[in-house]
Subunit: 392 residues, 2 copies
């Protein structure tokens, strides 16, 4: 996970990378930042800049409930937070874990903890896990979690943590008390935009720092990229906050090119994401039903069951594809996939079609690959698009 | 493989499907076809039509060399020809097989015969197998064949077959005599367009029947679809012959809708295809270098090595992606992929991008899915596109 050390940055790239140094304040008028050392707490002083890149990332959301600071409760965001959970498991041999939140982090931690032999419960406020899927597709993921032995507590809200001697003993919801040795918080992240906000660098309505296509903030010479900024959603044509490595990586590259005197743009995202629960793959792109309704758009929905390979081919297995398209125009608005190995990466065809502005009628003609080990004669995403085209 | 029997056609669809009946002649003036029974040889007589759909498919190319009609030599095109090879293996227990031709059929039969324990040799006239890939990518497939124990005889031409008592004994090339018990011909297919040509229904330069986007021939009321027709290549904007199930299936659907009084079109193909040799997956789409040069277009080429998953994730393995783009404009012209499980289906992103008319610069911004089990942070197809964009 560590691509480069400070030494590599210095020796190979001539970059002075100072770890454990925190910027406390940005002084826009005098073009400088105030820095202190994190380990010693010592003030380093003011550092001048011509250009400044804010890449402060995001932090796991901590619910404002009693006991949230107790030992045994872990948010998962950095390499270090992962190391801490692993050390807790190796050293304290917890038997039971409760995960609060059924998003990507919740899913992946459920898999990891089940594979390490813990009894895992998952609490989710919504009637389904994976809130970025529609309820009917999310239900398939709930089934996948139950099938690997996870106890799901859906439509339950976290109320507080039962703490004894500074260590968590139980998760208390509005319906249950769930005794536990370990708690994982998977309630999403919030952009670390406070530093920027305090310097009057404008944030967007999503809470992320506002940037243009070149990753410039509203202030000349101040750039921002990654999980601390808001993106532009190419389907809704509205600001959108998404904290994913692939987006952050592309934004960082664009910011770097521009900072270096070049020219590059990052037009936006379509909201593509993938995850998995053991053998079940999950993928989504574009808008989901609630988002489309919020925009006031009308849509059709097609959901089909197919197979990842031709049915007679060994290791063929189920795949469910859902496609959403604008009523009338047939413009593709989004897609969701749940299935076995080979299912999820097909989301990339739908993502590419969203970038292209394709209608579901356009998609019927796509010359996608076919051979029995790879796909039915019609790829499942095309079967779904064809069905949607019939409803437009 | 048999989706519907004549009984199903009759009972469920009210279609009179007559198997083992062959049309010998199309009489356009009197709108009728002359039919005889294949098993008895008996003439059935003339059948009248209002609309006629020609779906005569394609046949394996038989080289004009001595001994080609001998027993033990098999072309592979129909379910029946596959059954015959399997029966020959089960009943005659051949030890050695020679495959003539290194295309899809050659590759897939090499895998099948190696897995059944035969010593397999493959003869190919070109310096590489998989002529639909560029030589550098084809070389990776040649390696894959050698790695499963196939003896490759590249740049060798078939001269004749050594035959004794009506049965093949050896394949004779311009350089070797290869003793064998079984021969597979994988020299491609030719459209079965003779029946149409004899009725003066125009063929194209590729030898396939000419059709428009609705799958109409040049003659009113006469339609054609599948391996007997020529397609339109959406990248070269020229007629193109491709005999693949997925294309035939889509064309048949379009012809059926139009014949039934509806309206549908099949705009064309981008030449997408996938195959595999045991654990090595192979995929291609769009134009290859020889095709681009023949069109007189200038191009850039980028080839990158990456991994199917993030490098640290279990079962990550090599993938090589090559992308070809028009010099100057950067318009994507084609792509090729060779790699382990999970590699080939990524060709669908390139195929969709070809349909969209994307440049490689456009592709850099594609919001493709990323999670460690599925892909590096930049999907390998995007890494290749990014490299190509730097060369445009």
């Amino acid at each position: 996970m560590i691509a480069r050390t400070p030494q590599t940055f210095r020796n190979q790239h001539n970059i002075d990378a100072r770890i454990l140094h925190e910027v406390e304040e940005i002084d826009l008028a005098r073009r400088r930042v105030r820095v202190h050392q994190l380990d010693s707490g010592r003030a380093v002083g003011w550092e001048a800049f011509d250009h400044l890149l804010i890449a402060t990332g995001a932090s796991p959301f901590l619910p404002d409930v009693s006991g949230v600071e107790a030992k045994g409760i872990h948010g998962i965001s950095t390499l270090q937070s992962g190391i801490e959970v692993r050390q807790a498991i190796d050293q304290q041999h917890p038997q039971r874990a409760v995960i609060v939140g059924g998003g990507y982090i919740g899913l992946e931690m459920a898999e990891a903890l089940v594979l390490r032999g813990l009894a895992v419960s998952l609490v989710e406020r919504m009637p389904q896990v994976m809130g970025s899927l529609d309820p009917d597709m999310g239900a398939l993921v709930s089934d996948a979690l139950r099938n690997i032995g996870v106890s799901l507590y859906l439509e339950e809200s976290l109320q507080s943590f039962d703490v004894s001697h500074g260590r968590v003993q139980a998760v208390i919801t509005d319906q249950h008390t769930l005794p536990t040795d370990l708690v994982i918080l998977g309630l999403g992240v919030r952009p670390n935009a406070k530093l920027a906000a305090e310097a009057d660098i404008p944030l967007g309505a999503t809470g992320g720092i506002q940037v243009n296509e070149r990753m410039q903030t509203a202030v000349e010479g101040i750039w921002a990229a990654g999980d601390c900024v808001e993106s532009f959603h190419l389907v809704s044509r509205k600001p959108f906050y998404i904290a994913l490595g692939t987006v952050a990586n592309k934004q960082g590259r664009v910011a770097g090119i521009n900072l270096g005197g070049g020219y590059a743009t990052f037009p936006g995202v379509v909201g593509t994401a993938v995850s998995k629960v053991c053998a079940v793959e999950v993928a989504r792109t574009g808008l989901q039903e609630t988002e489309i309704r919020r925009l006031g758009w009308e849509y059709v929905s097609a959901k089909i069951d197919s197979t990842t390979r031709v049915g007679y081919y060994p290791h063929a297995g189920p795949i469910t594809v859902k496609v959403l398209a604008e009523r009338g125009s047939g413009r593709l608005l989004g897609g969701q996939i749940v299935g076995i190995e080979g299912a999820a990466k097909r989301i990339d065809v739908l993502a590419t079609a969203l970038h292209a502005g394709f209608t579901v009628q356009d998609m019927i003609d796509l010359d996608l690959s076919y051979a029995p080990p790879y796909s039915p004669v019609w790829d499942p995403v095309l079967i779904a698009a064809r069905q949607a085209a019939g409803l437009v």
